[in-house]
Amino acid sequence: MIFARIRTAEIKGDRTMKKLINAPEDVLVESLRGVALAHPELAVDLTTHVITRATPKEQGKVAVVSGGGSGHEPLHGGFVGLGMLDAAVAGEVFTSPTPDRVQAATKAVDRGAGVLHIVKNYTGDVLNFEMAAELASMEGIEVGTVVVDDDVAVQDSLYTAGRRGVGLTVLLEKLVGAAAEEGRDLASVVELAKRINGDGRSMGMALTSCTVPAAGKPTFDLPDDQMEIGIGIHGEPGRHREPLAPASDIARQLVEPILADLGSAGPAIVMLNGMGATPLIELYLMYGEVAALLEKAGVRIARNLVGNYITSLDMAGCSVTVLKADDELLRLWDAPVNTPGLRWGA
């Protein structure tokens, strides 16, 4: 009780944060505790921060593991379950989890058919998953990796860290999860994952910064009349800042670079994703703008998602993801999925 009060005082000092938390350093574990209590269908390890299905999938099927820094919920833990992930490894807020934990998760869910690591393209994630894969293969577990890099806001070049992994991760986890559930082998699942990564692009924007609990104040200052275009999901400033604009204009700024990069039109799965603090009424409005632009450009939206799927703590803003989708992808999309964050057919 006294401890609790001391913590409050800390929160109340110069680090006033409008957050439903106790001590900043306990956010991750306490949030995972809530996940554990809310979802008996998941097994949540409060020490390793690994979330697995309470009922593992059958022997002989490829397991799918993802993870990364926390602060993007429901990604990844909220996508563990039938038809999607077998395990998610939650790092500290915006900090990739460590190799030992990724390896532990990998080992725990391996069903003898190998494990796919879905890694978002951030140096930290790539390095830690790389080391984890080394550790796992030392234990005789076959690991395949896909590095998701769909963010067209970032220049993809041999001389940079390349594009970030953002919204496409959600679609990829769903589709690849369905393929693994069907019993495909690791090579084919890896190939599918890479194909999906090649066929999807995203672009995001922010109306406000987010506040990392441990930092205690907004990551960047954004004046009341400004927005950031081309942000990622870690509160990094975007590629450029400009005056607030109407939704129709913002939609154009998100859709155009995606289409320019993705090329040809045709059937697609489209996600209009909220960054965490933007309400549904605005997300649907944005979806209306985005869908109209895409259809005008010849993209036929075969499936869609509108909501908060890959977030950046309490950032206000949104991102658009477009994935070209053939009949196979649509069939995998429609396959049953039963996770806290995405559920149908089950």
Partner: protein
């Protein structure tokens, strides 16, 4: 004046580094807010707290075990980009030093060089990419030169620390080409690299530990 480094000097280094990153935590986070994701201070503090806690439970007697313990603990407690990179630095230093109880200045130079090579092997950074490499590489070079000139180890470490600080400051105008800051493109210029800043602290505390042992 000391000419060798033993495990107690290394332990002093580790503990000074822990203290310094803890003290400069907000500054490191602030640097990371500008061009990253605002966690570098938390990452380094968490990692070094884990290292000190681990060593408090009983420090290995040989330099390789000691440094490998530091490296493994960083790898398994930090995460992010800095975890594997700092972790590899210490792991490789330990491997290079071998199962000895002390190293001379040439041995330390070789270990540091191995650590730097490890970072490059992991992260593929090159000079001017605006990473912790830009603070570490000049420091290791300076230390090598000093050792070749048979400058006393404490002075060599002091020179390395100064070189690291200069390397850190030189990241200011750079456009990042590695890590999170690279996503910002031109906007990354005009800010110090947070990893270079913590790396300069690592060499500063090394110099202080060796001076303290003298």
């Amino acid at each position: 004046m000391t000419t060798t480094i033993d495990t107690s000097t290394l332990l002093d280094w580790i503990s000074r580094f822990r203290d310094a990153v803890t003290e400069k935590r907000e500054w490191l986070t602030e640097l990371d807010s500008a061009i990253g994701d605002a966690d570098h201070g938390a990452n380094m503090t968490r990692g070094m707290a884990a290292v000190v806690e681990k060593l408090d439970g009983g420090a290995p007697a040989t330099i390789d075990e000691l440094l490998k313990t530091v490296g493994m603990t960083l790898v398994s407690s930090v995460g992010g980009a800095s975890g594997p990179l700092y972790g590899t630095l210490f792991l490789r230093m330990g491997m290079a030093a071998g199962a000895v109880e002390q190293v001379d200045s040439a041995g330390l130079a070789a270990a540091l060089r191995a650590g730097l090579d490890g970072i490059v092997a992991r992260g593929k950074a090159e000079a001017g990419d605006k990473t912790l490499f830009d603070a570490m590489a000049p420091a290791v070079d300076a230390f090598d030169v000093a050792v070749a000139r048979e400058i006393p180890i404490a002075d060599a470490a002091r020179g390395a620390a100064d070189a690291a600080a200069a390397g850190r400051d030189a990241t200011l105008p750079l456009v990042a080409r590695k890590g999170r800051a690279s996503y910002l493109g031109e906007r990354s210029a005009g800010h110090l690299d947070p990893g270079a800043a913590s790396m300069a602290i690592l060499f500063e505390t090394l110099a202080a530990a060796i001076a303290g042992a003298s």
